[in-house]
Amino acid sequence: MTFDAATIQMLKTGIWETFYMVFLSSLFAYVIGLPLGIVLVTTDNDGIHPMPVLQKVLGTVINLLRSVPFLILLFIVLPLSKMVIGTRIGSPAMVIPLTIAAGPYVARVVESSLREIDGGVIEAAKSMGASDWQIIWKVLLPECRPSLLVGGALAVTTILSYSAMAGFVGGGGVGAIAINYGYYRYEAGLMWVSVVLLVVMVQIIQEAGMRMSRKGDKRIR
């Protein structure tokens, strides 16, 4: 293995591709998953706006999507990428399957964070005449902020690991380098460099999430 300028340039490009794939997919996954998570909690039987049928249907659809292995989902969804973005290879094309895979996952992560809230606090807000919207925006989300941030780190690292798999189907990023050089060309050195890069990224995301969560948590004296 030689670390010439071309290799380093390739790694730099890989890092950038991974970064924007993960960033965009996370963003879109939260755009979808956050409202879904809120709906899952609020429409439950003991929620602030029970709608049991909707809750059940939504829960089932999410479970279905979550049970499709990501690699299979990639093959199913890539034609859609071609329709929307015009290509089924490269990093931008991966954002769509990543979002579809991560959205339901984010919904469950958000759901479990929001379920941590103490029912008494919601009761108190109701007793003060809060509407459902006010309870969501002023009680549920702010009170669960620390837990949502921890969940965020979890979700983003999961999306990162999914993005690495995208290398198998023509996606870019650090994961693709690991697969292309390590798996297909037996260049173990470059593969290990890529793996270390991924590990470092996971560490950074995890640590950032935990720190933000702890820093903003007013329950700690």
Partner: protein
């Protein structure tokens, strides 16, 4: 009686559970007057929390009506109901403060809900924190406060929208006796100074005694009796009332074969040495089985259970003496207590 602010009529509540229906309340009828401190007392599981939650429709009753200032909560639109709730503050056993908000912002919360301008709600919140004696804690977070301080913040928060009624569900049950006393004092002060009607739910007789004007005793989903605290304390009519007021001590009294009477003190008599006068006048002995007197709202109240002498004539003499000095008494048997 003054104008009732809350009228509860034929109220019932059944919960649907997996094991079938659970009746939590049945045929509750109550009128709560403007400006009074009304207590609701009962044993655990009697339905107290359910009742107080029905008053602001946190729990929707399955039968009957709740009227607030003459208007039925059940007939209100969701919007009207929310604005009615703003006229009814509520405080809880577990305080239920927002952990991620400072004390000041907790008190601002109900004002935010009605879109009060920020500066105005902050000024109002500071004023309320002063009322509850916590202006120096405005920037603190709930995790940094003691239980009593948290309850004070909760009271300030409940007062923010100028409510006409404050509902307290076991508001002092998580606090030590001294803190309980100061919180009850604060509630009484608020009632006096602001004219806010207070409804207190508790399982402790001492709380009722300390601040309430009237009390309802609730037992197994039904109201057992309602009345002025002084009257119910001196002469509880229901079995549960006697149990709550006399406490478990009365149950441990061993009765012999001879007759027992309950002598009732209503303030005037308790300043006289009734028993010793009776003993002297009748030249007989009585056995004091149980006695309890206390100060209720400035009047001494109490009752005593006395075993009469076995001798029929002596017993009658003692009863006759009580009648002539106009001291109320009643004969009791073991299963009455």
């Amino acid at each position: 009686m003054e104008q009732p602010i809350i009228q509860i009529s034929h109220l019932g509540k059944e919960f649907q559970t997996t094991e079938g229906k659970v009746r939590a309340l049945g045929d509750i009828n109550l009128e709560i007057c403007q400006g009074e401190i009304f207590g609701i007392i009962g044993l655990s599981g009697a339905g107290k929390s359910t009742l107080v939650r029905c008053i602001n429709f946190l729990e929707v009753p399955t039968e009957g009506e709740v009227l607030f200032e003459g208007r039925s909560l059940g007939k209100m639109s969701p919007q009207e109901l929310r604005s009615t709730r703003q006229s009814m503050g509520m405080i809880f056993q577990q305080f239920n403060l927002l952990a991620q908000r400072s004390v000041l912002r907790n008190v601002c919360f109900p004002l935010e809900l009605v879109k009060t301008p920020k500066a105005e709600s902050r000024a109002r919140a500071m004023e309320l924190l002063k009322t509850v004696g916590l202006e120096d804690k405005a920037a603190a977070y709930p995790a940094q406060l003691s239980g009593g301080q948290k309850q004070r913040v909760a009271i300030a928060r409940a007062l923010a929208t100028n409510p006409k009624v404050i509902l307290c569900d076991e508001a002092t049950s998580a606090l030590d006796p001294n803190t309980t006393k100061s919180i009850l004092g604060l509630l009484k002060e608020i009632n006096r100074n602001l004219g806010v009607t207070v409804i207190v739910i508790t399982h402790e007789m001492a709380v009722i005694e300390a601040i309430c004007d009237r009390v309802a005793i609730i037992d197994q989903s039904h109201i057992a009796e309602v009345g002025k605290v002084s009257e119910i304390f001196s002469e509880p009519k229901s079995k549960i009332g006697r149990q709550l007021i006399l406490g478990d001590a009365a149950r441990q009294v061993k009765f012999g074969n001879s007759r027992q009477i309950r002598i009732i003190f209503d303030g005037r008599e308790s300043t006289e040495p009734v028993i010793s006068n009776m003993v002297l006048a009748c030249k007989t002995a009585v056995n004091i089985m149980y006695a309890q007197t206390r100060d209720v709202g400035g009047i001494a109240m109490g009752q005593m259970i006395v075993q009469l002498p076995d001798d029929e004539a002596e017993a009658n003499r003692a009863l006759h003496y009580l009648e002539t000095v106009k001291i109320p008494y009643e004969e009791v048997s073991e299963h009455d207590i």
